[in-house]
Amino acid sequence: MNERPTPSAHKGAVHRPVIHDSAERHVTGSALYVDDMPELPGTLHIHVGMSERAHARLRAIDLQSVRTAPGVVAVLTAGDIPGVNDVSPVHAGDDPIFAEDIVEYAGQPIFAVAAETLQAARNAARLARIDYEELPAIITLDEALAAATDLAPAPELRLGDPDAAISASPHRLSGTLHVGGQDHFYLEGQVAYAIPGEGADMLVHASTQHPSEVQHLVGCMLGVPDHAVTVEVRRMGGGFGGKESQPALIAAIAALAARRTGRPAKLRLDRDDDMVMTGKRHDFRLDYELGYDADGRIQGARFEFAARCGRSLDLSNAIADRAMFHADNAYALPNAYVHARRMKTHTVSNTAFRGFGGPQGMMAIERAIDEIAFALGRDPLEVRRANVYPADGSALTPYHMAVTDSVLDELTEELAASSDYRTRRAAIRASNAESTAIKRGIALTPVKFGISFTTTHLNQAGALVHVYKDGSVHLNHGGTEMGQGLFVKVGQVVAEAFGIELDQVKITATTTAKVPNTSATAASAGSDLNGMAAAAAAQTIKARLAAFAAKKHNIAEEHVVFEAGRVRIGNQEMSFAELAHQAWMGRVSLSSTGFYATPDIHYDRATGRGRPFYYFAYGAAVSEVAIDTLTGETRLLRVDILHDAGRSLNPAIDMGQIEGGFIQGLGWLTSEELWWNDEGRLRTHAPSTYKIPTANDRPDDMRIAIWAKGENREPTIHRSKAVGEPPLMLAISAFSAITDAACAATGYRAFPRLDAPATPERILMAIREATGRAGKK
């Protein structure tokens, strides 16, 4: 079912599986990432000195030997910062670039060394003598809850009367689930290259999803207006949310070194430093209590979440909010209560990661539904289908938004049929009875994911389009390319608008100098927002061209039509290039900005009500697993995915997002385990100890399809749907399938309360605990 790209037919049109615009450069090694750019003469290299304690007072920082070490040009501390020592993305003032009196995580930057070579900087940094006075450190989420270290108040969502509904239900259950965090492990680590200009000007090449924020925070750090700082990014070697707020720290240190020395300065973290110093996905504790009827229909639900935020606020409020918004996942809850506490710990400040709290939020209800099905002796799919949001729009989310675009009933049934779920489930149960050591499990789980930044004002985007007098087009917009294919999609939109070939459109690096005040390329909203902004810019130029041609040829404007490389003007035809040339001769402006703000969205955080999302993206997956009950090892045998990408702008790109998102989610829920020791030091800071999926972890049989009936009911760009984050949560099907297999290991006598990630150890512990409970019955 895989869409094959058609590389030879480089047609501009949307809805075609066009290959990635950088594919040729990627395969020849000529695609430039920040660290590949030619270095200017005099470029300095930076190494950061980090705290070795999780929580301590800095009694003395002795950097004398660092300053005098060979090759060292500058040693930078908080005192060297001309402006504000803070890179908090929410201006909370709690993300110092360099620690001043207190350190609050092991890995926190204290100073930086800029030297002639990276080796010299690294060697010099080791000579620092830091005198720490240790303070009590809170490392785990449970310690934070015990000490009530809430960073911010937790708002509530409430629909109906959940407590009364739960009490009145014929059946009830409650439980707790711990879900681990995740390192982004973008293959290209954090990097920034700062080049001082004349006066106060600073140019920063940064690997960032959020150039405007890097610009602003570097400006604040230097004490200069935003206009003095330009941030540019052509591409990232992966982002996944890890380059949303985190790059500001890296860019600020590079820019500070450049300002203090007057020389270009580069900071590239090596992998271990990157993993220790920068934020990750939040781990969560999820407590749930549900009441349900004999058919498994949920009558009322209470969700009490707690997120480990680490040492500062960063984006934790929005992330915990999104976890709350997804506590219902795909299920209509007539009565619900949701809240999520935001806990401070003395660990690295956790941050955005694909799904942005949504994946963690969904885990509780998916576990609960598996448990309901076990209690009632039913197929979990039946219970899921009994609870999914109806297509008729009658159900409200816990934040009182009517779900009017649900395709869950149709989509899950289509997938159940195409994957042969029911037959396979029966066969698996039969074979489990025959097999002692190896147990198999299967699960179908749906995803409903809200699309829009829940912070409403972020839902805006700008673009800049120039048509040159030879008919070639320069495209720029505020979105950033991290491999997801945003640039080619927006390029297709513009090529479609002008009726030209995609290779006539030059897709250019994101820069704050061309499009200002942009939002992060995040929340899956890149194509939705920037595609619309670019289309608006193209439309403005098209309207000018049409008016010019109509006047010149004395016909009505509607008779000027742009299509397939030609422009029809009444009965005549000319190439787009000819018209562009004539319009230039006729002194018509061929450049325009474009702007888009998502309509109809609003949310009141105080009352927990509104329409925070423009629409929902849907999908479902079936996973089949086998576990070895002697070792706890898991193998994913087969995965079937049906995903709603609306009318896909580019099916080849979207297939890549679906498959990649699933595998990344699989890593989060099965093999990727972050582990801090009692002193708060991360001990899994390299791929040797932190295991992301390899080619060999991918299921042997993986069948992915974009839902043929998909079409966005809202007037999004060519009726497509956002596809960056939603597929990650399809991997919950693998977690549920592991739960099913672990349940088989108890002889289906007890429900295994598995935590995530489902490592072999956790699987064995869950089976042992469940078997123990079954034995007592």
Binding site: T28, L187, S688, A695, N696
Partner: protein
Amino acid sequence: MTSVSMTVNGKPASGEVEPRTLLVDFLREHLRLTGTHVGCDTSQCGACVVHVDGTAVKSCTTLALQCEGADVLTIEGLAQGDQLHPMQEAFREHHALQCGFCTPGMIMSAIDIINRHGGVPDETTIRHELEGNLCRCTGYHNIVKAVIAGGEAMAPGRAAAE
């Protein structure tokens, strides 16, 4: 400093390096061949794979001096003018990349797999042999497809002799 000489992508290359200089740094910094990437610095992710005397090595844990007199091939040396190597062409056509950072190392490993097996091994073998090359964007599916297609184009009709 010590002098080192080798052949890189068919051309003589030499320079003055420290004994500790890694091959990847010699390639990237001295020769400006930046298509070879550093992903993990510790020979696990495979973004830095190049060929030394026809064998795939991780250049982030190979000393430049170890390659004295050797024949080194990097991603930049694969294409013949505008003509992509069949494995490059396969990765391009099969959408076997997203952010592209792992792609050069992935392609160099893929060619090595085909060379060592004398043709295209089965899919399970390919997946097993790609374990030393991490990709964080894709689910490896199109990468495996590209290795098969590229391998077949390198040696048409030849299955691996196993």
